[in-house]
């Protein structure tokens, strides 16, 4: 039931994306702002607790990209959530590289290509939809300890090593929790 509802509200937002790219509809942008900005801020604060200014900057930056790049979004190749996640992830990396003590010359733009492929492939798209549903449903069923580690890596931006240190667990334990989780979500199949 829950899944159905979520997909339904996703549809509304995909409509809003269309309204932005075709009609430059600011009302649609307004609605997406309400929905995503709290998430983007939470995503930033997870990595840098208390850094409210950073969270605000990144949230605005992401929403500007949504406004500018709406026409490049293709709903059949990635869910809107995934697309916005990649924008937020990249903006967070870029912000940290420019503002941290260890500044880097490496431009993240070259390293994370768009999830939206240039060449459409209906077979891949169908596969993508199935993966999406499988991950969405599987995630809710994961044991707490596995969800916790995934959140550390994805939301707090910790490497496996850092997650191990923070949870005072051996690196091997962290690795096996992530592997187990990815296995259940059928993301990772042992080679």
């Amino acid at each position: 039931m829950d899944t159905v509802k979520q997909i339904d509200s996703d549809d509304h937002m995909v409509q809003d994306m269309l309204a932005i790219s075709q009609n430059r509809d600011q009302e649609a942008l307004n609605r997406l702002f309400d929905h995503y900005v709290p998430k983007i801020r939470a995503f930033c604060l997870a990595a840098q607790p208390g850094a409210n200014l950073m969270a605000d900057d990144i949230a605005q930056e992401v929403m500007i990209r949504v406004w500018r790049k709406a026409h490049t979004y293709k709903p059949e190749t990635a869910s809107l959530n995934t697309w916005i996640f990649t924008l937020a992830r990249n903006a967070r990396i870029d912000y940290l590289r420019k503002n941290s003590r260890h500044q880097s010359n490496i431009d993240p733009e070259y390293l994370w290509r768009d999830v939206i492929d240039e060449n459409a492939d209906p077979f891949k798209d169908a596969q993508q939809k199935r993966d999406q549903e499988r991950i969405q449903i599987g995630l809710a069923k994961l044991p707490q300890d596995q969800q916790q580690v995934l959140a550390k890596v994805y939301l707090e931006g910790k490497t496996h090593k850092e997650a191990a240190e923070e949870l005072s667990l051996p690196l091997g334990t962290i690795k096996s929790r992530v592997r187990l989780a990815l296995h259940k979500l059928t993301i990772y199949i042992k080679r």
Binding site: P38, F85, R113, L155, Y188
Partner: protein, 246 residues
Amino acid sequence: MTIHYHPSIEMLTDYAAGSLSLTHSMSIATHIEQCQECQQQIRKLTTLGGQLFTQTTTEDANIVDLKASFFDKLREQDRSESMSSTVKEQGRRDQSTDHMTSEETLLSWEQDYQVPKSLRQFVPFGYDKLKWMPLSPSVKIATLCQEEGGAQVALTRIKAGASIPTHTHTGDEITLVLEGAFSDKSGIYRQGDFITRDASHKHKPMVTKDAECICLTVLDAPIEFTGWLTRLFNPIMRRYHPHSNH
């Protein structure tokens, strides 16, 4: 093309999550340009990221002010854009012709090699145009970038049939084969293969006889040669690592 050696699932996950260091991310990005299998994996791992992202518990911070300032900023930008749009349009046209020429010259310089997109920031005009530093008559190194923490990304270019001296490293070393092939006592590595070695590993890579080999190497910490050439090489390496204490 069959790739036999891939990054670990941990590295792929950290890359998709955006928590992996930029130097390591560079090696992953370069590998997945050539590896369909890992591309698929990254796709799914990114989808997982999107799911976790939507589940973030949203604090009830007041975003009204933020929104107001956002829309002000947007209007401001749109206004200045429409004012300078004619200038910009012209600029864009210039840029695209520039792009074309550089792409064309790139091809005429190097018929055989295509520089991966992920490396173009540092290799805009092809491998031959880099500043190569000879380590021996058959081995050359070009540093692409040097991070403050001591990590280094470099290209190594080795002549067909040559070997590079035995060395150990103080941190992890990633090697990605871009062109040609080489082997060491654990196996043979071809285009696209991704090899991770830790500090305990001593190895003596040897390039296959048919063609030269170009590899991308990412080092956490400076490399140390342990063979008889140590005295000769280490001063050179030190120059590559201004932050190193070795």
